[in-house]
Symmetry: C2
Subunit: 336 residues, 2 copies
């Protein structure tokens, strides 16, 4: 491994000069800087991030806290898209990604300890488990953090615009002539609350009176439950003409149930999903859904976290809201 000392020897100068030249310090002559840079290049120099981190207490790395109850967070397309774009943008900004967990080497370790151990400059928190006290400890630790789809006192956040999303979705369905709209929502999370509120608000604005039994509680990514609830909704005395699902995966459970009952989409019953996963574009009939812009969310999260790190004491957390996009498919019948 070539070090600045070797470059210094090669260039007949001191390590200080090399360090400064390589870091673009202003007090080095242009020629010297150029000469050193060229030598470094030729010798295949790579700084040692550990030494640099030790010296500066900045690691140029972001931690990513990506846990959920089922330990499958990474395999949900919505989250993996966020991670993917967060990673890319972070790397552009000069930060590497390191996962933060609460186990390491067979030992329990708090998220905060893990982060300090690796000297991560900041942490992105994506989790279904914001109730976890370990997460709150981290958010209150002074380490810069940015959360996704959750708002905490003093840290930045990137949210999908669930309010607008529900509004767009419900309005579209209304405009297609539907008045009896049911909503199967996910388990009680911050996101669910916003979506439910968005649903009710939009309905009120549109002058729609939604009977209580039209809004039922299911789970995210659980086709079985949504299938059962679909059955329940369709067997009501006065069934809805359109059912909203918590997400595109849950929709599939509903879809199967509908077919099983000998009904067809959208002739007999209209449907809409949420997320805009790849699968929604592939299925036939093409699913009407609200695409969440996970890619942009990851990008904005990286930028916000970089800002939090770089502005330090001067940082004022921003709450970034990323709008989604309605993807009209063929699952909502035109009743007009």
């Amino acid at each position: 491994m070539v070090t600045i000392r070797m470059i210094a020897k090669h260039c007949n100068c001191s390590t200080a000069t090399v360090s400064k030249a390589l870091n673009g310090a202003p007090d080095i002559s242009a020629e010297t800087a150029e000469r050193i840079r060229k030598a470094a290049e030729e010798m295949g120099y790579m700084p040692n991030s550990a030494a640099r981190a030790l010296k500066t207490s900045r690691s140029h790395s972001f931690g990513v806290l990506f846990e959920d109850a089922t330990n499958s967070g990474l395999t949900h397309e919505f989250f993996s898209r966020i991670l993917n774009s967060f990673k890319r943008r972070s790397e552009e900004l000069g930060y590497d990604i390191c996962f933060i967990s609460d186990r390491l080497g067979g030992r329990d370790i708090s998220y905060t300890e893990h982060t300090r151990y690796r000297r991560c400059d900041g942490v992105l928190i994506v989790s279904g488990e914001f109730a976890d006290p370990g997460i709150h400890e981290l958010m209150g630790s002074g380490i810069p953090t940015v959360t996704v789809d959750y708002i905490f006192d003093n840290c930045g956040s990137v949210q999908s615009d669930n309010l607008l999303g529900m509004k767009d979705l419900v309005t579209y369905i209304y405009n297609m002539g539907h008045r009896k709209i049911a909503f199967i929502h996910g388990e009680e999370t911050a996101v669910s609350k916003i979506r439910i509120a968005g649903f009710y608000r939009t309905c009120r604005e549109l002058g729609l009176n939604i009977p209580e039994e039209y809004v039922v509680s299911g789970f995210y990514h659980d086709p079985t439950t949504s299938g059962l609830l679909t059955k329940q909704l369709l067997e009501l005395k006065d069934p809805p003409t359109c059912i909203l699902y918590p997400d595109d995966i849950s929709y599939i459970g509903g879809m199967n149930q509908i077919e099983k009952m000998g009904l067809s989409i959208p002739e007999d019953i209209s449907t809409a999903g949420y997320d805009g996963l790849n699968i929604s574009r592939i299925l036939r009939p093409k699913l009407t859904t609200l695409h969440q812009d996970a890619d942009l969310m990851g990008i904005r999260a990286a930028e916000e976290l970089a800002r939090a790190v770089e502005e330090g004491k001067f940082y004022i957390p921003d709450r970034i809201v990323v709008p989604g996009e309605l993807l009209p498919g063929d699952t909502v019948k035109d009743l007009r």
Copy 2:
């Protein structure tokens, strides 16, 4: 931040003693060790990984090289499952995960440089682009590497048992009475070659003579192409009774095409996928597919990489082959 120096002060001993006690060195008395460990615990001591890495040139971290042409590797369920289980197992073994890319801070950087910069102890290589010279440079750099679904000279590998997978799948279909089996395979990769060979071999063993036009070339995760090829296969003079798809996602394109042609699965045409993604269990009819054990692959990869790192010069690469599991669904008609 509490350092060993502070612990030393607290315990009236030297930093050397603290370091040894914490690392379980044999030349420290049991009482002293215990006293120091307790103090460290109480004071909330966390070692500084940067200092440790600088001193020992071991970072206790694994790099993960996870790139593909479309930059969406992470969003493929198969790969994200591998990553997920690799991460968990690595953390159990005491290694953190750091992504390795070929861009950092707006600069081009080779994978090898990136790995050295972060002092990763080893790198897991998961990629559709094994032709990339940067990857070959890394594999030849002396840094311990383990590849997934690809074999390179001197590094460990974890593969899905594609040969056995195809055998199980084709044999199952044969046993259901099918003799005219078509195979839409993915683009030419190492994996595709094995699957194609497995397909032909199994057919030969079963005494099946597959006409040339039954084996056609599509792409992985491309429902559009597989839809077109499905049409082509079904319009043959002597169409197959069963079509194998490159993967579960591609199958959906075929499924749509089949329905579009007014045919139904499995009454008119039987089908099978590959991968065993969640979606395959959700779709109706339930897809017959070969589940690749991505979770186990990630676990074995972590263990192999840890072994490569820890055995150093004594390491002899292992080629680990992970069997999959046939998931019989309802898409293959019983012709017996």
